[in-house]
């Protein structure tokens, strides 16, 4: 069987040797990271530069970031199947693959970070329901299962697999029930995105991260949900654009970008507004109530006030403005620039909450802590990135991630 017979008819893909050349460096990076993860799992976390004081490092930052960026999967599914934004059908498959790689990558790196994988089931069997992390664990696990189920129809539509009658009929029947998975995914994502933010907001001993909130949920709970919903569509637009550039052909119609940009812009604007209100409340009320003047958190050279400005204004307000303006977002360059900035903004937000929170002193005898990840941490980080690229590359090559690809090619040929 030729490898081309696994590729959908009419889909123009690189010849196999070129594809192998593309994946080779990613496989090498993945192998290096797998070795680093093996060292950590078999010998212990002394291979990392984390310690009892700096318990959250590069990996937790990676987890928070990829889970935020992967939110495009649940939110695109919600928009398509529940709110019937039909134009997003063009990117739903890609969004699911992005979500699947992001969440499965996060799970793997969490397993390495927590260690003792043989006892991982304890988390589920003896849950501490008072912990935000328990909610995160349950929700992420369930959502990963949902994403895997959402991936199945795509897989069964592979040119070879679809020749098996039962596969195609099962795909058809499963697809008809996709709205259920979209709703479940939305519920799970709402809670785990929120809980990931909430777990920082409840750190009473860390006044830099601690926030007041609503009932048991600190404000970071809601800000994490909203920021992930805002950035998810931007990341989907960004990845689609990158794949288009690599494939050198359009994969979706311009209105798809416009819809993604418009939704992202509106939500980002709402997020920036609420984040600003939250920050002002924190500066004027929450932090002083905990005995800290907010400006003291920014006295350390690595984390000056510039970081606050960058997070809210540069990577929040500015992309929101660009995406909100129809004339600006309809220019592809501006839209992609805004999407990059929005993704950078959410990445910076997760970095600040993970790394800056750990670095800042909280007691009089504390000092500012610095942390630089070990090569094993970097390698594991790289392995997750490589894994994501590999899964996406194979999916793009052998599955139909962009259903409009052929239609656009035919229309271009006709014109």
């Amino acid at each position: 069987m030729h490898s081309t017979h696994l590729i959908a008819r009419g889909a123009c893909r690189a010849p196999l040797p070129r594809f192998l050349m593309w994946i080779a460096p990613w496989v090498a990076l993945f192998a290096l990271g797998a070795y680093a993860m093996f060292l950590c799992l078999s010998q212990g976390l002394f291979h990392t530069n984390m310690d009892n004081r700096y318990a959250f490092g590069l990996w937790i930052f990676l987890d928070l970031t990829v889970i935020a960026l992967g939110a495009g999967a649940f939110f695109t599914g919600f928009l398509l199947y529940v709110l019937h934004k039909k134009e997003l059908k063009a990117v739903i498959n890609s969004a699911v693959v992005i979500g699947l790689t992001c969440y499965s990558g996060a799970m793997v790196v969490l397993a390495v970070d927590v260690g003792q994988p043989l006892r991982a089931w304890f988390t589920y069997y003896h849950p501490n329901v008072h912990s935000m992390l328990t909610e995160v664990t349950f929700c992420i696990t369930c959502y990963l299962v949902v994403l895997a189920i959402e991936y199945v129809p795509m897989l069964l539509k592979n040119r070879r697999l679809k020749l098996v009658p039962s596969f195609l009929v099962f795909e058809w029947e499963l697809h008809k029930l996709m709205v259920v998975f979209a709703l479940i995914g939305t519920l799970l994502s709402f809670f785990h995105q929120g809980s990931l933010g909430g777990l920082f907001g409840v750190l009473r001993g860390r006044p830099f991260a601690f926030r007041e909130g609503l009932a048991i949920w600190p404000s970071t709970f809601f800000l994490f949900v909203l920021s992930a919903m805002a950035v998810g569509p931007s990341f989907v637009a960004l990845t689609t654009w990158m794949v288009e550039k690599l494939a050198r052909r359009p994969l979706v119609k311009p209105e798809v970008y416009d819809t993604l940009g418009r939704i992202s812009g509106k939500l980002l604007l709402g997020y920036v507004f609420l984040k600003t209100v939250d920050t002002l409340l924190w500066i004027n009320q929450t932090a002083p109530d905990r005995g800290f003047a907010a400006h003291r958190f920014y006295q350390h050279s690595a984390f000056g006030t510039w970081i606050l400005f960058a997070e809210i204004a540069l990577f929040g307000l500015l992309p929101a403005f660009i995406l909100f303006q129809p004339k600006l977002r309809q220019r592809r360059g501006f839209l992609i620039l805004a999407a990059v900035m929005a993704c950078a903004g959410v990445t910076l937000n997760r970095f600040v909450l993970t790394i800056q929170t750990m670095a800042l002193p909280t007691l009089p005898f504390d000092r500012f802590l610095s942390y630089w990840p070990s090569w094993q941490e970097f390698a594991a980080f790289g392995a997750i990135a490589a894994y994501a690229v590999l899964v996406y590359s194979f999916s793009y090559r052998y599955l139909t991630l962009f259903p409009q690809e052929r239609e656009i090619a035919l229309a271009e040929e006709r014109s």
Partner: protein, 275 residues
């Protein structure tokens, strides 16, 4: 997690949390089970072939799903939503009432050098159907299909007795390492397969009263053929600029022998509705 497990507490927070978790788990598992159950039911009720076609049809780009009345210019730009099964289409029924759908007897048409006899019905997947005197139906490949495929490396015909469902694969052939599945134009049971040299491939006993309502006939065949030639050119002209049919030209006898394999494979997918 369960009352008998160490650490379980009978308080509201615990019960709400686990209640939500178990509800989600039950909904997810039930939904997958429901999809599996429906799949088995579809096979049991003989609907599998229809659903396979529906799934494949769903994947065709809109350009390949043009309504037959769009081809003739009656409904400009209309895309078929009935999986090319006009028997279920109310729009087709209303338009049909205004015109005669009977095939023009003994007429022969020629389109770009290809004979297109109008004494038979045509399926969108490039097969024709002709009623025989004994009530059976003869099925064959049309001229465009014959020229595109040329001489196949292998041809797999269904054995007599095989039940065919309209729009599900009836036969398959391979050429240049690619497999092409030809869709059945009618529902019925195969009673005979052709000997070499015959212009038909299958003789079929129709299931119930044969209704050609979903098949093309008469003047619309020419409009469809012209559209198909255009689709063929588009398919072959895609990546590397394959030889294309100039206006007034004649399609070569064996397209597969003069066309790059990948483009031929794409063209077959488009023409024979193999998404």
């Amino acid at each position: 997690m369960f009352p008998w497990v160490y650490g379980f507490e009978w308080h509201a927070g615990y019960l709400i949390f686990l209640g939500v978790f178990f509800t989600v788990a039950v909904v997810v598992v039930s939904t997958v089970m429901l999809a599996l159950f429906r799949t088995f039911r579809d096979f049991r009720q003989g609907r599998a072939a229809q659903l396979q076609w529906a799934s494949n049809f769903h994947d065709l780009p809109p350009q390949h799903r043009a309504c037959r009345h769009a081809l003739t210019g009656e409904l400009e730009g209309r895309v078929c939503e009935q999986n090319f099964d006009c028997r279920e289409c109310t729009m087709h029924a209303s338009l049909l009432a205004k015109q005669s759908s009977a095939p023009a007897c003994c007429q022969e048409s020629e389109i770009f050098g290809m004979p297109v006899p109008l004494d038979r019905y045509y399926h969108r997947g490039h097969t024709w159907v002709q009623a025989a005197e004994d009530g059976s139906l003869l099925i064959g490949l049309d001229e465009l299909a014959r020229r595109v495929i040329g001489k196949p490396d292998s041809l797999t015909l269904p054995a007599p007795g095989t039940t065919l469902v309209a729009n599900s694969p009836a036969l398959s052939l391979s050429r240049n390492g690619s497999e092409v599945r030809i869709l059945s134009p009618v529902d019925g049971a195969v009673t005979a397969v052709a000997d070499p040299g015959e212009d038909w491939l299958l003789r079929v006993k129709p299931a119930g009263n044969f209704s050609p309502r979903h098949l093309l006939s008469g003047l619309e065949v020419k409009a469809w053929y012209l559209r198909e030639l255009e689709r063929l050119q588009l398919s072959m002209g895609l990546p590397e600029g394959a030889p294309s049919l100039a206006d007034g030209g004649v399609l070569v006898e064996d397209v597969a022998s003069v066309c790059p394999k990948s483009q031929w494979d794409t063209a077959c997918g488009d023409l024979f509705l193999n998404a």
